[in-house]
């Protein structure tokens, strides 16, 4: 299939999944922003470090999306069979995967822009590091979206209750347990765990570029390599393992 068609289809699927909802349910934008803002509220109330909270909130707005897209995919598939219909169309699975992940990314943009604006205003993030930070966030989004898509294709028969619980567990596991909203140093000798999760790895990179954490160039390189390796694995999983066509 031609690359141009794959890219075009990606944006059509993103539009198909985002525009009708945005037109008719604009409140969902507020909900997505509030989910990420909640930990920030507690950090403020209990006198925690706001800069760590803002980094966490930015990753949360983007990170939740990967998992949300998996849940949305299955929900759509089961109830409206859009995916089933698209499988029988001349559409590449990659277009579907990225398009399905892009749609909620569109929803998260206002929340993300809000947290980013505050971080820039407070001087938590320097302007000159913005490019690196956005690149890290997009890589994190790509890893989680890929994983979400693969998981969704394997849990075709799971009930909606199981899926809701799974999204909560994955959300907790990937956003709130690893050092995303808090510094890696709190884990002491286990601080290396941060590199294993795409979310906390991204948080570490953002902190490094923001000056909130001091890492050597080698460590930054290793963190980038780890994030990119996760992204490649996730894309390969989508290409080779995702059950696009049932057996």
């Amino acid at each position: 299939m031609k690359i141009g068609k794959i890219v075009r289809d990606t944006f059509i699927i993103a539009a198909l999944k985002a525009i009708p909802d945005l037109k008719r349910q604009p409140l969902v934008l507020m909900v997505m922003g509030l989910i990420s803002a909640l930990p920030l509220f507690f950090i403020l109330v209990f006198g925690g470090e706001i800069s760590y909270g803002l980094v966490g909130a930015m990753i949360s707005t983007v990170g939740f999306i990967g998992i949300a897209s998996a849940i949305q995919d299955i929900t759509f598939d089961r109830y409206v069979k859009i995916r089933e219909t698209i499988i029988a169309m001349p559409v590449h699975p990659i277009s579907y995967m990225i398009g399905a992940a892009l749609a909620p990314l569109i929803f998260s943009l206002p929340g993300f822009a809000f947290f980013l604006a505050i971080a820039l205003w407070l001087g938590v993030i320097p302007f000159q590091a913005l490019g690196w930070i956005i690149a890290a966030l997009l890589s994190c989004w790509a890893v989680l979206s890929g994983l979400g898509f693969v998981i969704s294709t394997y849990l075709r028969r799971a009930s909606i209750y199981t899926l809701n619980n799974l999204s909560t567990i994955l959300g907790l596991g990937l956003i709130f347990l690893p050092p995303v909203y808090y510094p890696e140093e709190l884990l002491g000798g286990l601080s290396w765990i941060g590199i294993l999760f795409p979310t906390s790895n991204t948080a570490g990179l953002i902190r490094a570029y923001s000056g909130l954490a001091v890492f050597s160039q080698e460590i930054i390189m290793i963190r980038w390599l780890a994030l990119l390796a996760m992204m490649v694995v996730s894309i390969l999983l989508v290409v080779f393992k995702a059950k696009w066509r049932e057996t």
Partner: protein, 309 residues
């Protein structure tokens, strides 16, 4: 030219027990035909359609759409088909227009072309006036027609429709039938699955009866009806004692005070109606229906299976 062909198509699902959903099905659908796959629930109709539409892999056998192998040339097949899955619900926030327009774009159409085909399809299923209403506010029949319109708008040469009229009232169903026949007039090929006998009889050029994964019969409606020995049915209502001697020579089935008696020729049917009327019973004769043949074929197969086991 054949639009859809299957050769010894087998599908077995491996779970706790191995279930054979298709047992070597051979079907041939000519281009420009409306072909109906008729069978009770669980017969294997959806499995067949999902294999043809490249959503499901067969266990063995081969299937082709316009000469393209569904296994090795799935991408080519997908360029020529449009599918309406079984029990498809609509997404409440979508409008019929959005269904048609976005799905047409995904088929590679330009925006202008997608607008034109969407308009044509929505008019064909009489949804043009409701095109901008969200599906959440449409009736069940209107929602179904919105999905069918999306398939029609695709301009695909082969339409694969899995029970597209299930759950629709008679009026909505007839509107869908009219739209399907319109598509046939335009040279499309349609493979339709249904368990509604009237639908199969009314819209099909050809049909196949499938039961427990096995193909029972294939041909035109008249050819299928020709498989039954009896060509007429007489429905008699009232006390049937007066006709007992006569009825015993023929196959019949009772529903409360009504009895359907199957006879081999028209003269025999007229004679039976005359006798019944003389005895003061209500009676009417008509040619055998597809449903009668279907029940006989399935019933005969069930008896055969029982004997074998």
């Amino acid at each position: 030219m054949e639009a859809v062909t299957s050769v010894n198509l087998v599908k077995a699902y491996r779970g706790k027990e191995k279930i054979e959903a298709l047992k070597g099905v051979n079907i041939s659908i000519e281009k420009g035909e409306l072909f109906t796959l008729l069978g009770p629930n669980g017969a294997g109709k959806t499995t067949f359609l999902r294999i043809i539409s490249t959503q499901l892999l067969p266990t063995s056998g081969e299937a082709y759409v316009l000469g393209f192998n569904v296994l090795d040339e799935a991408e080519k097949v997908r360029e020529h088909i449009a599918v309406v899955p079984q029990d498809v619900a609509t997404y409440g926030n979508f409008t019929p227009w959005e269904y048609c327009y976005y799905f047409s774009l995904l088929r590679g159409m330009t925006k202008q072309k997608a607008k034109e085909t969407s308009e044509r399809a929505l008019k064909a299923v009489e949804l043009w006036e409701l095109r901008n209403r969200t599906c959440a506010t449409l009736s069940g029949g209107e929602k179904k027609r919105a999905i069918i319109a999306a398939a029609l708008a695709s301009e695909a040469e082969v339409l694969l429709l899995d029970e597209p009229t299930s759950g629709l009232d008679a009026i909505a169903r007839r509107k869908v039938w009219a739209a399907l026949r319109e598509m046939i007039e335009q040279g499309k090929t349609i493979l339709l699955t249904t368990h509604i006998m009237e639908e199969a009889e009314m819209v099909s050029d050809k049909l196949a009866i499938i039961h427990k994964g096995e193909l029972m019969a294939q041909g035109s409606v008249e050819e299928i009806k020709g498989l039954a020995k009896e060509k007429f049915r007489v429905v008699v209502e009232g006390s049937l004692k007066a006709l007992e001697g006569y009825v015993s020579n023929n196959s019949s089935v009772s529903f409360g005070s009504k009895r359907i008696i199957y006879v081999e020729d028209g003269d025999e049917a007229i004679e039976l109606v005359r006798k019944a009327l003389k005895k003061g019973l209500k009676a009417e004769a008509s040619p055998i229906t597809l449903e009668d043949v279907f029940v006989k074929l399935i019933g005969g197969k069930e008896n055969e299976n029982r004997k074998n086991s």
